[in-house]
């Protein structure tokens, strides 16, 4: 593209006011220069940007490309790069004005004292440009820039003329111009383009670059920020090519032959390997171990101190209780005993004794001695002792005793039940222990097979659960979505012919029968309590929540997952896997390598330019660029077939999009398919596809008869819009 910073030209004043300025106003690039020169002086991207300057707060305008580092001074978030074009027609004349300002300024017009741009202007436009756009452009040039006269021409025709003068093509031929947003096929007869035969299809370089950018961003979402428009253009320019035969090229890549490997190109993004963690040195390790030891020791000391404190407390309490007991024993008179009791706060001797036994037990536990199971005795005591009344038959008891008996029966059954439950739990524990030991044994003797079995079981279980969940969510999604989407329409999903599963059918049945039958009489729905149970049946949201019972499959899955976590180094948990899939990142149990930072262009190299030949790939149902030539020919029915043959021998491919390698060969195959068998066909690329349009226009503007083709403000005002619509320059100006 040339240097980013464009120097302002200094020789503006050296050109007389009769020298026209030539502007190639292209969809991607704006080129401006003097007539008669071989190269445009100034070229830049035909876009403008209006960011807000951070420090002053004012909105400024920037045109074309600039050093990206300077944009940090501007707030670039609220605005974007805008083009004056919509498809290939200029519609936004404010931006057009900014672009022209910049172009003229860099050409040196700011140094002139004239107060206007005092040179005739030759500007390019697309063929059959709508008159509104043309009129607005003429207005802009006349009224704002004070231009004396203006001429409009088609860039493809200028390119053809230039190549014709070089002898590349003949007087009759085709100009196939692959532009930014569009491609035109323009028949040229006797040196003049025939608009009635031209054909435009709405694919161009922009679509190829955009397709490449999107496809790469979707394939490598992790690197999406690095895949900018500029980078995509660079990749396209350097690595894309047109496949001579698309299906066979696809096959090469599908079979992954060696040829495919060679054709792949890898773009290595900048990547810094993470710094190696230094292994801590010996002394580091020793120091850390010592610190840990000390901490452990401190904790142990604290625990020991607490324990001894507790023991002394308990001993004291025990001592107090023992003295109390001995006092009570010594006391002979009951009054003394009761007074002692009252003072101590215990109600009876039994209480003191029980407290005593309790304290001595805890003391023993604290000291680490096995607790004497005094409680057990009460349990294992024969039930007859505890529940004396149970064994006595009913007739022999008084009503009070009967009540007592009932209570004892109840207590007995509950305690027996508790015992039984405990036994069962102990049994289960033993069984599980035995199973674990068996599994351990199996694992140790054949680790590989064991892992395989585990993995298979895991997969099976997870699939089962997934399927069940999917069925449920599908059903839910269908039912709920339809319900909310259709409002009162009860029939929901059936309208679309979707197959309802059993649950949904049941729901439908309930809804239709319960709520909507009873044509005669009143609606008696809510009168019976059972009716409201319908809601419970119908509501599918409560399905899972009501289940307090843990799904046995899921429990099994958890167990297997835990085992796999332990033994299998490459296992990735299901929850983790789901998380990963949702963020589209590759699983990272291993460290990042250089390969993760590579973007591979394999199929994309020729897939993206294929858009030009098959616009259906991006959803444009139009003809490809090889087909539009045949459409052009069909639009010229009055032409003799010999003339058509002659024209097909002189097809020029021009425009920026034609720089793709392999394009001409593919075009030839494509166009030959539409022409009669063995009719002559010759396709040539323009000498300089990008610059020839400007060069042709420059040569044209430099010719003496150029001034006969321009129109001035007076002409414009006098002759009106109709005339402007029919205005077309004559391209063959012969001196």
């Amino acid at each position: 593209m040339g240097e980013i910073r464009i120097a302002r030209q200094t020789d503006y004043d050296l050109f007389s006011p009769t020298t026209p300025i030539v502007i190639d106003n292209g969809g991607s690039t704006f080129r401006i220069g003097w007539a008669g020169e071989s190269d445009p002086r100034i070229m830049f991207r035909n876009v403008a940007f209006r960011p807000r300057h951070r420090s002053t707060g004012e909105t400024v305008t920037v045109v074309g490309e600039h050093d990206p580092a300077l944009f940090k001074y501007f707030d670039c978030t609220r605005s974007s790069w805008r083009s004056p074009f919509d498809n290939n027609v200029v519609y936004q004349f404010e931006i057009m004005e900014y672009v022209l300002d910049y172009g003229f300024d860099r050409l040196g017009a700011s140094s002139s004292m004239a107060g206007k741009v005092d040179h005739p202007i030759l500007m390019t436009e697309c063929i059959c440009n709508p008159v509104y756009s043309r009129a607005k452009m003429a207005e802009l040039l006349f009224e704002t820039y004070g231009v004396p006269s203006v001429a409009f021409g088609v860039d493809a025709a200028f390119s053809y003329k230039y190549n014709q003068n070089l002898g590349i093509c003949a007087e009759d031929g085709f100009a196939l111009s692959i532009g930014f947003m569009t491609t035109h096929s323009i028949p040229i007869l006797k040196g003049e383009p025939l608009p009635e035969g031209s054909c435009r299809t709405n694919v161009g370089g922009y679509h190829v670059t955009n397709y490449l950018k999107e496809v790469l961003s979707l394939k490598y979402p992790y690197h999406a920020p690095s895949i900018t428009w500029e980078k995509a253009e660079e990749l396209k320019r350097e690595h894309c090519y047109v496949a001579p035969d698309y299906p066979s090229e696809l096959q090469i890549f599908k079979k992954e032959t060696k040829e495919a490997e060679e054709k792949k190109w890898v773009w290595q993004l900048p990547w810094v390997p993470p710094p190696q963690e230094e292994l801590p040195s010996e002394e580091e390790l020793a120091r850390k171990a010592a610190i840990k030891e000390k901490q452990g020791q401190r904790l142990r000391e604290m625990a020991a101190a607490k324990r001894s404190q507790k023991i002394t407390d308990l001993e004291n309490e025990l001592h107090v209780l023992e003295t109390l007991l001995s006092q009570l024993d010594e006391a002979e008179l009951p009054e003394v005993a009761s007074s002692i009791l009252a003072r101590s706060g215990y109600l009876s001797r039994q209480e003191i004794e029980s407290a005593h036994s309790r304290v001595s037990q805890s003391l023993r536990k604290a000291r680490g001695e096995p607790a004497v199971t005094v409680e057990e005795n009460t349990d294992t005591a024969t039930s007859a002792d505890k529940y004396p009344l149970v064994s006595i038959p009913d007739e022999m008891l008084t009503p009070d005793q009967l009540k007592e008996k009932k209570r004892q029966i109840f207590l007995k059954t509950t305690s027996e039940g508790r015992l039984r439950a405990k036994q069962k739990r102990a049994e289960e524990e033993m069984m599980r222990e035995r199973q674990n030991q068996l599994e351990e044994g199996r694992r140790l003797e054949n680790p590989e097979l064991y892992l395989e079995e585990l993995r298979a079981k895991y997969k099976e279980l997870s699939e089962k659960i997934d399927q069940r969940k999917r069925l449920k969510t599908n059903g839910n999604g269908n039912g709920n979505g339809n319900g909310t989407g259709n409002g009162n329409n009860v029939s929901g999903g059936t309208g679309r012919g979707e197959r309802l599963n059993a649950a949904q059918r049941e729901r439908m049945r309930l809804l239709t029968t319960a709520l909507f039958d009873k044509g005669k009489g009143e609606d008696t729905f809510g009168l019976k309590d059972e009716d409201w149970q319908l809601y419970k049946l119908m509501s599918k949201d409560t399905d899972d929540d009501d289940d307090d019972v843990v799904d046995p499959d899921e429990a099994e899955l958890e167990r297997v997952a835990a085992k796999l976590q332990e033994f299998d180094p490459s296992f990735v948990g299901r929850a983790e896997a789901e998380l990963m899939q949702s963020t589209q990142e590759p699983p990272r149990p291993r460290a990042l390598t250089a390969e993760d930072y590579q973007v591979v262009l394999g199929v994309e190299r020729f897939r993206c330019p294929e858009v030009l030949f098959q616009p259906g790939m991006i959803g444009e149902y139009q003809a490809g660029i090889d087909e539009i030539v045949s459409h052009s020919l069909r639009r010229l029915p009055n032409l003799d077939s010999s003339i058509k043959d002659r024209m097909c021998q002189s097809i020029i491919v021009t425009g920026g999009g034609s720089l793709l390698p392999g394009l001409e060969q593919r075009l030839e195959t494509g166009i030959r398919a539409t022409r009669p068998y063995l009719s002559p066909l010759k396709i040539v690329r323009a000498v300089d596809s990008v610059m020839d349009a400007w060069r042709g226009a420059s040569v044209y503007a430099a010719s003496e008869l150029f001034s006969t083709q321009t129109f001035s403000l007076e002409d414009y005002n006098e002759k009106g819009e109709d005339w402007l619509k029919r205005y077309n320059i004559v391209y063959s100006l012969y001196d």
Partner: protein, 124 residues
């Protein structure tokens, strides 16, 4: 303005000596200028091509007709030929491995793939 911004001259000066009317006078500050310009669609509607004689070429006349070749279906993800379509997402895919990838795509990516093919349903 910062020194290097001034030096690079990237910002357009508000006054250009070769212009008769300056931008500041033409476009008052604070007015929304975007809606002022007619987009191509509106331009073409205003042109009223139907009233014009049919054989004269105009912008719409020269548009290409649909392709005479039937459009081939290519896989949205890999680019190979795609005989199959995923009924849930309507993406085209080439073989079962690609199908797995299709099913695992987040919804945003699905919509972008469809938009690339101009097949996304836009709900406004």
């Amino acid at each position: 303005m910062e020194a290097d911004v001034v030096r690079s001259e990237m910002v357009l000066p508000p006054v250009m000596p070769f212009k008769r009317v300056q931008m500041g006078d033409k476009y008052q500050k604070g007015q929304s200028r975007g809606r002022y310009w007619k987009h191509l669609k509106q331009l073409l509607q205003a042109e009223n091509f139907i009233s014009l004689p049919l054989d004269e070429p105009n912008y719409l006349n020269i548009e290409s007709p649909p392709s005479m070749y039937p459009s081939k279906k290519y896989c949205d993800i890999t680019g190979f030929e795609a005989p199959y379509v995923d009924p849930r997402t309507k993406l085209r895919y080439a073989d079962p491995e690609v199908f797995k990838r299709v099913r695992n795509l987040p919804n945003e990516h699905v919509q972008r793939y469809l938009a690339l093919r101009n097949a996304a349903v836009i709900i406004r």
